[in-house]
């Protein structure tokens, strides 16, 4: 009886309309950018911005699968690096090579994800360590392959996805291929996590693996699939980032943490069971928008880093507070 009276106020709060604060954050940041720089409201402004954020957005949405299943994938940045280095080494300036290189890279990505998943599921190595080891290994492979400096260019057919714009589009004037990729892959990843049985199983495994197992969920297979999805999206992110910026030997470094940050800003729970693809993509937009805004303010770099860090902590703290208050 007493239990019920205590629970009532909580139930009342739960019925209040609840926004994920990340959307508020993104809108606020974008408005601030437009106020600072009206040119951002022009198609070249916001399309460039979306083009820039595509790689991180797709990567984060893929990494979210692993986070929801209760793990971490630190190897995604090194998969991006390997994709870009490997593609440039294999392409040898042949524009026709793109058609077999991208499928090959996706194949390599799938194998990497499979290994990550097997190591975590069957060798019982914590995912943080397993994927950290994979990250170091893949960075080493990429370094050995290239000898420490890029040995080739990416042909224009490869760079198409990250670099080219369709011009003369009505209303929005130009439409970067990358933005089409962002919406396309974003939709697929949203569907996979929120509208399929696999997505429900992922949530179940992340929420309580023991309960999921007892309920008959094939926990190992679900986990392995999550790592494969994450690795595949890392390859796609690598293709888009390499396309946008060209070859660098450490092009993917730091992206693994940015992806996790984007997911957390989007309200994902780090130990699994909760997360949203659209909110994670919004988290990626927020991260990039913070960078752009601080750049526009013309603050010196050290000040920018401080502000960036504080906004990150604030955003996540707010998300956590809201969740607690709404009792979820």
């Amino acid at each position: 009886m007493t239990d019920q009276t205590l629970a009532r106020p909580e139930a009342k709060k739960r019925s209040l309309p609840h926004f994920n604060p990340v959307y508020v954050l993104v809108v606020a940041l974008i408005l601030a950018i437009i106020v600072m720089n009206p040119a951002f409201g022009e198609p070249t402004g916001y399309m460039n911005f979306l083009k820039r954020v595509t790689a991180l957005a797709i990567l984060s949405a893929g990494a979210l699968y692993v986070i929801v299943s209760g793990g971490f994938d630190l190897s995604v940045g090194s998969i991006m690096t390997l994709t870009v280095i490997g593609s440039s080494m294999l392409a040898s300036n042949d524009p026709n090579s793109t058609y077999w290189i991208i499928p090959l890279m996706l194949g390599i990505g799938a194998v990497v994800g499979l290994v990550n998943g097997l190591v975590v599921s069957y060798l019982k190595v914590p995912s943080l360590i397993a994927t950290l080891g994979m990250m170091i290994t893949l960075n080493g492979v990429a370094f050995m392959w290239s000898g420490g400096a890029p040995r080739g260019y990416l042909p224009d057919t490869f760079r198409f996805f990250g670099r080219y714009n369709i011009t003369d589009v009505p209303v929005i004037t130009l439409l970067p291929i990358a933005v089409i990729c962002l919406f396309g892959f974003g939709a697929i990843l949203w569907w996979g996590l929120h509208r399929t049985n696999f997505g429900r199983l992922l949530h179940a495994v992340g929420d309580n693996p023991q309960a999921a197992r007892l309920a008959g969920v094939p926990v190992e297979r679900v986990r392995i699939s999550a790592f494969v999805v994450s690795a595949l999206t890392a390859v796609l992110a690598g293709v888009i980032l390499g396309g946008r910026a060209g070859v660098s030997v450490d092009i993917g470094s730091g992206f693994e943490l940015q992806a996790i940050t984007a997911a957390v800003i989007g309200g994902a729970q780090l130990l699994g069971g909760r997360g949203s693809v659209p909110a994670t993509i919004a988290g990626a937009l927020a991260l990039e928008a913070i960078f752009t805004l601080l750049n526009l303010l013309g603050l010196a770099q050290p000040v920018r880093l401080v502000v960036q860090g504080l906004i990150l902590i604030g955003a996540v703290a707010l998300a956590t507070y809201q969740r607690k208050r709404s009792g979820r």
């Binding site: 000898g147 400096a149 714009n165 946008r244 752009t292």
Partner: protein
């Protein structure tokens, strides 16, 4: 009066340790010296730029003469960027040209001061080295380690970044960072009308050879009445470079982009190219992708160099020392030419990798171009 003294003393205490260590990156005397050296005549064989040297000062090394075969030890700050990859290849190929070198021991500090200090300790403890070549990771931190090697009686050759002791046999380096900044800034000042907007892109703060490039150029822009839009750090990352330039383009016109190193110059060029804009003056470095882009798009480029042939010179200096021959010193200053429009085609080689640094002085080696990743 007393108050002022106390204030200064407190300030001194607060900043003391840092200030005592921090080298001066804006030194007008050094700036003037390097400006002169850029156009000075160098001694040495005309067709072997990596053997040339400024001035006539030589060091006697007869005390270090040793019978071959030698063990040459090399403590390397790192092979962590494409310039160092090219340089290290120059070095290993140069070693092959000297049959007197029996063993070449290379230890890679992977960009860490601590590891390099430990590396040098290990090499000294091993006792096998006839000579020690050091490419210091940072100036202040490695000075005691180099002094320790000297004290052990070992001849030491330092190159690339320096140390603050004169105990090494010689310090091999090209003209220097101010020189690099001057060449790029001169070109911008000559090609941009007064009051024009310059964006300065830098890799990272705090590295002496990069700080001097920036401080020299900054002073020159201010003197010439150009507006510096900003100084941004790119971490040597193409994507970040492109984003920074795009952001600045949204805020207004850019007449020139000054770069402290060329590895991301092509990304800066693409930021203009992708928006269908004319390419302004963008400075770079001698790496192939920039040189080819410059030729293809035909903008007003220039490629100052920090020649990677100094890695060859370090081996040559070591060989001369162990033979007891005179070595240019205590500083072996190498020429530091800039690649300009007139000589651009001489340095383009489409068979080389995109980040091959053309000013490598390596074309006369038997293993060129395969060892550098090029195709015949």
């Amino acid at each position: 009066m007393n108050k002022t003294v106390i204030t200064f003393a407190v300030l001194g205490l607060m900043t003391g340790s840092a200030a005592a260590q921090a080298p001066n990156f804006d030194d007008p005397a050094e700036f003037d010296k390097q400006r002169e050296q850029l156009t000075a005549t160098f001694n040495g064989p005309a067709d072997q730029i990596y053997r040339q040297y400024a001035g006539n000062e030589m060091v006697d090394t007869s005390e270090f003469a040793t019978d071959a075969p030698w063990t040459v030890c090399f403590s390397n700050a790192g092979v962590n960027n494409p310039w160092r990859v090219v340089g290290y290849t120059n070095m290993t190929e140069e070693v092959k040209l000297h049959p007197e070198i029996g063993t070449f021991t290379h230890v890679d500090a992977e960009g860490s001061d601590d590891k390099q200090i430990a590396d040098i300790d290990d090499l000294l403890a091993g006792g096998d080295c006839n000579i020690l070549i050091v490419s210091p990771n940072s100036t202040a931190a490695l000075t005691p380690a180099v002094e320790k090697a000297c004290a052990a009686g070992l001849p030491v050759i330092v190159f690339d970044r320096g140390v603050t002791t004169d105990c090494p046999v010689t310090f091999v380096h090209p003209v220097g960072g101010y020189g690099f900044g001057i060449q790029a800034a001169d070109h911008i000042i000559a090609n941009v009308p007064e009051g024009g907007n310059v964006l300065m892109l830098r890799i990272l703060p705090g590295v002496d050879v990069l700080e001097t490039r920036a401080s020299g150029a900054r002073n020159m822009f201010e003197e010439a009445g150009l507006t510096i839009l900003g100084e941004e750090f790119t971490d040597g990352d193409n994507a970040k470079t492109k984003s920074i330039v795009e952001d600045y383009l949204q805020r207004g016109n850019i007449d020139a982009v000054w770069m402290d190193a060329g590895a991301t110059a092509v990304a800066a060029i693409e930021a203009f190219e992708d928006q269908g804009m004319d390419i302004p003056v963008i400075t770079g470095e001698d790496q192939q992708d920039y040189l080819q882009k410059w030729r293809d798009l035909g903008f007003a480029g220039i490629a100052p160099t920090y020649p990677s042939y100094q890695w060859r010179t370090a081996i040559i200096a070591a060989v001369q020392t162990l033979k007891g021959e005179e070595v240019p010193g205590p500083e072996w200053v190498l020429p530091q030419p800039a690649i300009t429009q007139d000589v651009l085609d001489d340095y383009i080689n489409e068979n080389m990798p995109p980040l091959h640094y053309a000013m490598c002085g390596c074309e006369d080696m038997p293993t060129y171009p395969e060892a550098w990743g090029g195709n015949e």
